[in-house]
Each structure stands twice: as structure tokens, then as C-alpha cells.
Amino acid sequence: MTDLLLLWVSDYGLVIISLATLLSCFALPMPSSLMMMAGGAFAATGDLVLWQVCAGAYVGAVIGDQSGYFMARRFGAAHLWAWLQQRRSSARLLSQAEALLEKRGGWAIYLTRWLFSPLGPYINVLAGATHMPWRRFLLADLLGEATWVTVYVTLGYVFGTQIEELSDTLGNVIGALTAGMVTLLLGRALWQQRKPHAS
């Protein structure tokens, strides 16, 4: 499978890299990080042009994020969110999520572009559904995706010969960081719930 994806990058170049970063913003299982690294590796050999690889990946990612945000904002997710907030079982948790996004939304958007990237698509929908101010979302998104693209294309450029090994290792590191962060947040929420019972 990895070989096929790398073949697509060497065959179709920028188009496939842009498409991969765009589709990954919709939570589709696209190994966009590997494809950006492949783009960087091909740029190092002169088969692709570095700035074009960066621009292609960047444009795809930003369009994908903005689409997720606006689709959630315009088409129904806001109604779904309001309905879930009326339900006793989910209201408190959703209010906490909304407060957290209100308070640290910029950082949440920025960090879920690259460091906790598996959460990115869901945060886009959450930001759209809670009507997070678009300018704030856009700024954090532009900075976050710039970090994501720069890190992975540079890694591909430098470690050209070892992109598959690097991708295997890094993919699991990102998975561990994301799952670890979710564990911490859930642990914190459980701890906070425990207090009223204790008193």
C-alpha cells in the first residue's frame, strides 16, 4: 500500500499531494504526512520543486479545514450541537467543550493541525458548530498548517532515503501523543466529577 502511494506521488506529483492533504481534513484515512515527506524527498532530487510541494500541500490542507468548518457551521452541525446541549446526558460535557474552545480555541486549532493531527477534522467541525469566530479559526489554521507542511516536507527533504521508516515511527508517535492527550483530558474530567461525590 505504501509503495502504491509513493508511486502516485512520483507519477502525479503535486496533484496527489494536494488531494491527500485536502482529504485528510475530512478524516479520510489518507497518509498525507508520508506523501508530503515523499514530496520533500522528490524535491531534494530535483524531480519536484520544493516551493510547489509546500504550496500544493498547504493549499489542500487549508481548503480542507475551511470546508469542514463552514460545512459544520452552515449545514446542520450547529442544530445538532444545540439539540445535544438540551439533553441532560450530554449537556454538561458539551458546555465544557465549548468553554474550553472559547478559552483556548486558538491553541486547540493550531496544535490539532500538526501535533495532534488525528483530531484536526473533528475540531474543525466543533469549531464550526460552536460558531467560533472565523478570523480566529483562520489565523490559527493558517499557522498550524504552515507548521505541519514545513515539518513534514523538510523531514522528507532531509531523510529522503528513509521516508517509509520515518513515517512508520512518526505516525505512531503522533498517535501516542493524541491518545495520551485524550487520556489526560478524560482523566481530568473524571477527577472533577469525583469531587462532588467525595464532599
Binding site: 507519477d11 524531480d47 505512531n172 501516542a176 491518545a179 487520556t183
Partner: protein
Amino acid sequence: MRRKAMLASFIIAAGLTAFFIIRAAFFAFVWMDPDRGIHPIEPWMTPRFIARTYNIPRPDMQAILDLGPDDTPRQPLVSLAEAHGVAVEDWINEFNAYLDARPPHD
């Protein structure tokens, strides 16, 4: 009920964290292993990529692929082989033979 669901989610998330840490460590160890050898030449690689990665002088790479002196197509090896009517495995074997014949620290 909600607390139970949260507790279950917490346990699953903690399990996933451990799972990814173990996998990351495994791949890192495999990657760093000095006996692993170099990454094999594969059909998705382009001629320039092969020349740079395996430190093969461009004229030697062009000779193996039957290319002209200014010819470095931006195509994967498999597409190039198809265009030349050659089996890609034959070219990969030729590259491997070239690398085997080369002195170790070349």
C-alpha cells in the same frame, strides 16, 4: 451511566496510548538497527531519486536505464520500464548488481 461511559473511554484511550508508544518504539528500534542494511530499490523510485539515494553517479544510472546523457525523466522506474518494454525487476537487479560490485565505502 455517563461516568461509566467516560471511564470506559478513559481505559480505551490509555490502552491506545500504550499501544502507540510500543509501536513507535518498535519502529524506531528497527529503523536504528545498524544491521538492517540499506533500503531496497523499489519501482516507485525515480532515476534521480535512485542516483541520489544510493550515491550512483548519474552517467552510471543512465547507462543502466539506457538513457541519454541529458536524460533524467521525472517518472517512476516502473513507468519508465513499461515505456522501454523492460521488466522493472530486471532494472532493479541491475542496480543491485552494480551496488554489490561497488567497493564497500564507495
